[in-house]
């Protein structure tokens, strides 16, 4: 009886492990390690759990798998009987240990590191097995001391299903609650932006409680700035966490770590950590009402600002200034209420924006692949617009006056006719603004167009409101007019100067046309402009009211005939002379650009070749700037050569169905778009930002697998 008792006692001792803790300097360690098993016996072939316990003296800590700014992870080296395999350490969620401006991840008190062992199926049942492990760690208070211990445990092998060790049931259960939750129900996404990783977490539907604050601990070292604040916020129905990256950190293809929150990831009192394993994307679109709302506010703000800025564009400034001159005239007349004109002008702008957006949306709904800037893809529209702008410029120069004066585009504001005039100027302003919106706001409006209809309309509305804002402001607050000099000669000079801005717009339109349709058509259009100018001159010289009626009629008719003939002939001949130049971008930027075809790209991507696609257009100003800045860098050119990247240029200057479709594949309908396939057919391509620099390209190229 006594012997059996002693044997049982010894057995228990073995079961709780034997520790020979000592630190490497011979002194007594402040950390005591132990080894326990969850079950009282081992069954051949059936995996079972062990726990390495670490009991730390007060004030001392050991480290997590990623120790952070300093420290060292605890290691377990197993010495197992033949055929046994050990799983990875299941790390409990660590705590943040702050020391000055350094942050480490570790543990105080008592922890259990769970490890699963799998015995071989052919294990003999007649003798116990001895499991040994060498546990090494770094124990730190304000100083650090490495520690090491050998622990071992003897376990009987039995054929029957093992029973849980009664003494450790609770220990294992508690230890498991401290492990990070592994859940399919939480959805995680991550994107890398501006040297941060942004993690989006979407809770499962049933999750009612809120996560108050969360912090990300990465498994890998050298990735994030541990000591920096991670910005946590609500995002739609989920959460958003901005994690600052180290400078020049190499971001892994898979981001793994845990999110830690006191709130519990399955409600209060549940697991405080959840495991996150995500492939970060360069660009992700997050859905969810809250987020959409915040981005709508941003969109509204920026479309309003954009609208205001439009007034400074060479196309719009002349219209606005004429309109303001009208107000000045009228303010000094003191005869009407200028603010009414302000609002009517606004209405004119809004109506034309709505019509424009409406047409676009209807065409899109009808299946047409269009994006903003589409107006400039049509030679007819380009020619019409350049004639219109040119005539406008001529009238500014004083070659002729539209109507009796500038009633339609600004001048008089008396009576009903004046209100109608304000409305028309609103429309005119929008029309003349179109060539300017495309280069400067192509991508912004492109974004607007892929949103739900009501969002598109809101964005267009605020763009219009922004455009009308300065005028409304000036017309509503007469006090402002005091700062403007009295009408006089300066107004005429200003008006003439504005004419040059319009002329510049014409030059630009013709340049775009030249790229689309070649030099011959541009020459024809220039002739058309010459005759248009002639007609305008005749009209201006002999067609005004001061002339005798007969002269006037002759002049007007002659002007109209010339205008009609010249324009008619031009439009009739567009197709005959429309020769799209073969190589639209004769660029000598040292990169071998090929013309984009989807088939060729698909084939190369499938072969695992790196491919770069540049979707561009002549009328897209940011595209031009990007090309000038980014692709002219010799470093970029060399990298393209060295990495053997197949470069494709998709030129959207003219309407091109295949490019529109290619853009749609990336949820875009505007240029610029830069896509990099990294040479791995299984991986999603990377979308570069709309404004690129050599640095951005080089960074993107770095990740290419050679």
């Amino acid at each position: 009886m006594r012997i059996r008792f002693i044997r049982f006692f010894l057995f228990l001792c073995l079961l709780t492990g034997i520790t020979y803790a000592q630190n490497l300097f011979g002194g007594k360690s402040r950390v005591e390690a132990g080894l326990i098993a969850e079950e009282i016996s081992v069954q051949p072939g059936k995996a079972f759990w062990l726990a390495i316990s670490l009991q730390m003296e007060e004030g001392w800590h050991t480290y997590w798998r990623n120790p952070g700014d300093s420290g060292l992870e605890t290691k377990i080296q197993w010495e197992l009987p033949d055929g046994f395999t050990a799983g990875k350490i299941q790390w409990p969620a660590p705590e943040i240990i702050r020391e000055e401006h350094l942050v480490t991840y570790g543990y105080h008190g008592m922890i259990y590191l769970l490890v699963q062992l799998t015995p071989p199926a052919e294990l003999q049942t007649n003798q116990p097995v001895l499991v040994k492990a060498r546990v090494s760690w770094l124990e730190c208070a304000d100083i650090c001391v490495p520690g090491e211990t050998n622990v071992s445990l003897s376990l009987p092998v039995k054929a029957e299903t093992p029973e849980l060790h009664p003494a450790y049931m609770e220990t294992f259960a508690t230890a498991r609650t401290k492990l990070p939750l592994v859940s399919e129900e939480w959805q995680f996404q991550a994107s890398i932006e501006n040297n941060t990783i942004i993690i989006y977490a979407q809770p499962p539907d049933w999750m009612k409680s809120e996560i108050e604050k969360a912090v990300f601990f990465p498994y890998t070292t050298g990735l994030i700035k541990y000591a920096e604040e991670q910005e946590f916020s609500l995002s739609g129905n989920g959460y958003r966490l901005v994690v600052p990256l180290k400078e020049k950190a190499v971001t892994p293809d898979t981001l793994a770590g845990i999110l830690f929150s006191e709130s519990g990831w399955r409600g209060p009192e549940s697991e405080k950590a959840i495991e996150v394993v995500i492939e970060p994307k360069e660009n992700i679109v997050i859905t969810g009402s809250g987020d959409a709302l915040t981005s709508i506010w941003m969109a509204i703000l920026f479309s309003f600002l954009g609208g205001i800025i439009l007034n400074l564009m060479p196309c719009v400034l002349p219209v606005l200034s004429i309109k303001i001159m009208g107000i000045i005239n009228q303010a000094h007349d003191n005869s009407a209420r200028p603010w009414q004109h302000g609002w009517i002008f606004t209405l004119g702008v809004l109506v034309s924006f709505w019509v424009l957006a409406g047409i676009l949306l209807i065409l899109k709904a009808g299946g047409a692949h269009l994006g903003w800037g589409f107006q400039l893809q049509s030679p007819v529209f380009l020619i019409l617009l350049s004639v219109f702008m040119f005539l406008f410029a001529l009238s500014m120069f004083g070659v002729f006056e539209i109507g009796t004066s500038l009633t339609t585009v600004g001048g008089r504001t008396n009576g009903k006719h004046g209100f109608w005039g304000s409305f028309i100027s609103g429309i005119t302003a929008t029309i003349v603004a179109t060539p300017c919106t495309a280069p400067f706001m192509g991508s912004a409006l492109g974004f607007a167009l892929i949103q739900p209809v009501w969002i598109s309309m809101i964005i267009f509305t605020f763009l219009g409101l922004g455009m009308a804002a300065p005028f409304v402001l000036i017309s509503s607050i007469p006090a402002l007019l005091k700062f403007i000099p009295k009408p006089g000669r300066w107004m005429e000079s200003l008006k003439q100067f504005m004419g040059f801005l319009l002329a510049a717009t014409v030059v630009w339109l013709l340049w775009v046309l030249g790229i689309q349709s070649g030099a011959t058509l541009v020459t024809i259009v220039l002739f058309n402009l010459l005759f248009t100018a002639l007609a305008a001159w005749i009209y201006g010289r002999w067609g005004h009211l001061a002339m005798p009626k007969k002269n006037r009629i002759t002049a007007v008719s002659l002007a109209l005939v010339i205008l009609a003939l010249s324009n008619g002939l031009t439009y009739a001949n567009i197709d005959n002379f429309n020769q799209a130049p073969k190589d639209m971008h004769p660029q000598d930027d040292g990169i071998q650009w090929k013309t984009f075809t989807q088939q060729e790209v698909d084939l190369l991507v499938k072969d695992g070749k790196p491919v770069f696609i540049d979707c561009t257009a002549a009328w897209c100003l940011s595209c031009q700037v990007n090309e000038e800045v980014a692709f002219s860098s010799s470093e970029v050119q060399q990298a393209f050569k060295d990495l053997n990247i197949h470069a494709f240029k998709a030129d959207w200057t003219s309407q091109d169905e295949s490019i529109t479709k290619a853009l749609a594949r990336f949820n875009r309908n505007s240029v610029p778009l830069y896509v990099l396939y990294k040479g791995n057919p299984d991986k999603e391509p990377v979308i570069l930002p709309e404004l690129i620099t050599p640095g951005i390209i080089m960074d993107a190229l770095k990740s290419i697998e050679r």
């Binding site: 700014d69 300093s70 350094l102 304000d142 650090c144 180290k246 479309s303 400067f440 974004f447």
Partner: protein, 201 residues
């Protein structure tokens, strides 16, 4: 936020330049002035035209001991000093904390360990440590003759206190210096330093 990108560019035509005053990789390494264990003043600018290694040290730290007990650090110091590199050991341990030694104790310890840096600089208040964002001991920096920070990080790639790992590890400092000294172009880079935390005030 695709909407605002082009608009933001419109609105903000002048970009922001975030100019940190602390050491940035690939940028000019900040200058400093410290007194060594012999009472001599040293500035980084004194060594313009030479490669400079900064080694954050704390002899009480087991990670530092790993590299000194294995003679790894001393060998590196000697080898590169012979090749014209300036080696500065810096201690940012505050008075009363681990690794803080008086000037006499320093010289005694250096002798005992046969450590021969060009100088052992005392950064008792941690100013220079924080300027360089030194996190651990050892934490290594390499500065080129033009004063640019070429490397910031760990001494090697095996995080441990085990002396046996020294021989197996890839030593970032020696590999980088070898490349630099043979005239190879080295893209400035950083790794995560490992070791004990610097014992700041």
């Amino acid at each position: 936020m695709k909407v605002n990108l082009s608009l933001i560019i419109l609105v903000i035509t002048t970009g922001f330049i975030i100019a940190g005053s602390t050491a940035q990789i690939g940028e000019k390494a900040p200058d400093f002035n410290l007194t060594d264990s012999n009472g001599k003043q040293h500035s980084l600018s004194d060594y313009k035209g030479k490669y400079v290694v900064l080694e954050w040290v704390n002899f009480g730290c087991p990670f530092v001991q790993k590299h000194y007990n294995s003679k790894n650090m001393q060998t590196l110091q000697k080898e590169y000093r012979d090749k014209g590199v300036v080696w500065l050991s810096i201690s940012s341990s505050a008075s009363g904390k681990q690794g803080y030694l008086s000037a006499a104790e320093i010289n005694e310890t250096l002798k005992e360990k046969s450590s021969q840096p060009n100088a052992y600089l005392i950064d008792e208040d941690g100013t220079v440590g924080k300027l360089y964002d030194a996190k651990a001991t050892p934490h290594m920096y390499i500065i080129d003759p033009d004063g640019n920070l070429i490397y910031n990080g760990a001494i090697d790639n095996i995080r441990s206190t085990n002396v046996e790992d020294v021989a197996k590890a890839h030593n970032y400092v020696s590999k980088t210096l070898d490349a630099l000294l043979t005239g190879e172009k080295v893209e400035p880079f950083s790794t995560e330093a490992y070791g004990c935390s610097v014992k700041y005030k």
